[in-house]
Point group: C2
Chain length 323, copies 2
């Protein structure tokens, strides 16, 4: 299927990683790179935890835990149970195997390696072959503003279980964060085929990436079309708090509202077949829109959606880029 394509996929957590697996099955390492949200990263127990980088790594390495929807398969919990017995901070469940990734990442960062470099090392050790770039080697922290005050992302997401009502988001450090040069080069390449926004939470998975000025500018300047896959299906988020956030932000929790959120950044938008009736709401001024089976339960589901998205991107690439 290789045609000398070059794609960049932006992704966050577990939802986006499902499409990523499909994309990586269709496109080779020379055809596909990933750009990953690090706004969720946080220092916990003295360790640098990077949940979205790990979700993608575990998914691509096929070691994800299908039962929990996060973490590693065959995981054990001796460490965290003992830490709780010792009176330690136990609200963030770190599996024994997962923990090795955080420790190794932290050791290498303290030794002076960049997050990009450590990410490459970890992925190489787990046998993944596609390039995975953190959105920046500089720290960016997603702050969730809520009716209970501002919360660091993992405090909102894990400790408070997304209960507080969301009022807005802040990406501390994003304004001055530098993007990976290789990603900027890819975005500037005249032969870039397309840019895919995976079906991740737009507010806390994709927006932090877009908040890095170099990335946003490079996306807008790229000759390649930008295509997003809706994380909202039939008014619900398949995974995570996207729909709840939209409701709290007084935005209709619909697929077209996600497209509207991305605005004129988008050239194409993929909604679920269940929402096919909403296709007519996309006027000539908006992105090209198609309906596809976006619910990914099996590997075949991922492969099928990836194939459809890639084909859609190619078609858009062949036509004149709208903006």
């Amino acid at each position: 299927m290789s045609r000398g394509d070059r794609f960049l996929a932006l992704t966050g957590g577990v939802g986006g990683a499902k499409l990523a697996v499909g994309l990586a099955a269709v496109l080779g390492p020379d055809e596909l790179s990933f750009l990953v949200n690090t706004g969720d990263d946080f220092e916990h127990l003295g360790l640098h935890v990077a949940p979205d980088l790990d979700s993608l790594m575990y998914a691509l390495a096929d070691v994800s835990n299908p039962d929990t929807g996060w973490g590693r398969r065959g995981e054990t919990w001796q460490f965290i149970e003992t830490l709780r017995e010792l009176g330690g901070e136990g609200w963030f469940a770190l599996g024994d195997r997962d923990l090795a990734v955080h420790v190794q990442r932290t050791v290498r960062l303290r030794a002076g390696a960049s997050l990009s470099c450590v990410t490459r090392e970890l992925n190489a050790a787990l046998g993944t072959r596609h390039a995975i770039w953190p959105m920046s080697d500089d720290p960016v922290a997603t702050i969730v503003h809520t009716t209970h005050g501002p919360l660091a992302f993992q405090h909102y997401f894990v400790r408070e279980r997304c209960v507080p009502d969301v009022t807005g988001f802040e990406f501390a450090g994003a304004g001055t964060a530098k993007a990976p040069v290789a990603v900027l080069d890819l975005l500037a390449a005249p032969d870039l085929t397309g840019i895919i926004l995976c079906p991740s939470n737009p507010y806390v998975s994709i927006d932090p990436i877009l908040a890095v000025p170099e990335i946003r500018a490079a996306l807008r300047a790229s000759v390649a079309p930008v295509v997003a896959v809706s994380p909202i299906v039939a008014g619900l988020a398949l995974k995570g708090p996207t729909a709840k956030m939209m409701a709290e932000l007084k935005v209709p929790s619909t697929a077209p509202a996600v497209a509207a959120h991305y605005g004129d950044l988008l050239d194409g938008f993929v909604i679920d077949l269940q929402d096919a009736s909403l296709l007519e709401t996309f006027g000539d001024a908006g992105p090209a829109a198609i309906a596809a089976p976006t619910v990914m339960l099996t590997f075949d589901d991922k492969l099928r959606l990836a194939t459809i998205v890639i084909e859609f991107v190619r078609e858009l690439r062949a036509s004149v880029k709208r903006r």
Copy 2:
């Protein structure tokens, strides 16, 4: 059995911890405190690892691993196996449960707690009741000088498996390290019953403690007798490299040579029944010496030896202190 006794026991690793268990079974928390070697402590994978503090804690909490002779019972190894797969530094086997202790200690130390304070917290969480003091809150690092050059203790002991020939020892930082005030107060107490040097390695378990000037001076000034239990039985170390070190240092690997090493610090010395014939080598100028069953395989062995040692100390205390 309580008589208002007050004992201080100096101990290092697993060998000393056996007698410690016996002592703690005979003497209550108000009668017995421990002073523990921290020269083995090291920073590993960004964590503060304190092997001797943990050996004693695990032994007193009755969670020691009887199979390995170190670490915790019911331990699993998912973390370290994964770390090795990731290309991390895997030579120091950290169990999943053990790891929680190192992480929690490191978190608390970084938060500004002293090692004494963290040690108290960890022991309280594990339900041990006797006071356990690190020899200092200041860092002291045992350096093993070998024919292959100087080695940090754990590099010698674990990574190099005690293979290099030993030429001497250095306790970096000991000269300026402060002792815990509570321990100095206890040593200065007019009613202190006795000071016990557990059957730990004299060179790398007890000597680092004695290398802290405040401790050495307080031991010498104390009204209480100092009694050591030989870690050498029939020319062999029951555990660890003591005999090997003595041979490399051109010292006979015998119980009397251990007593000679401690010199005039000792008022009493306990050798094994197997070495009873050596009792006659202790002249009037040396410490009072007795033979006892010092090989501790069962809890009853520990209890019996502790009872004998305590009684021996009391007898010495009742007589005039020799020096």
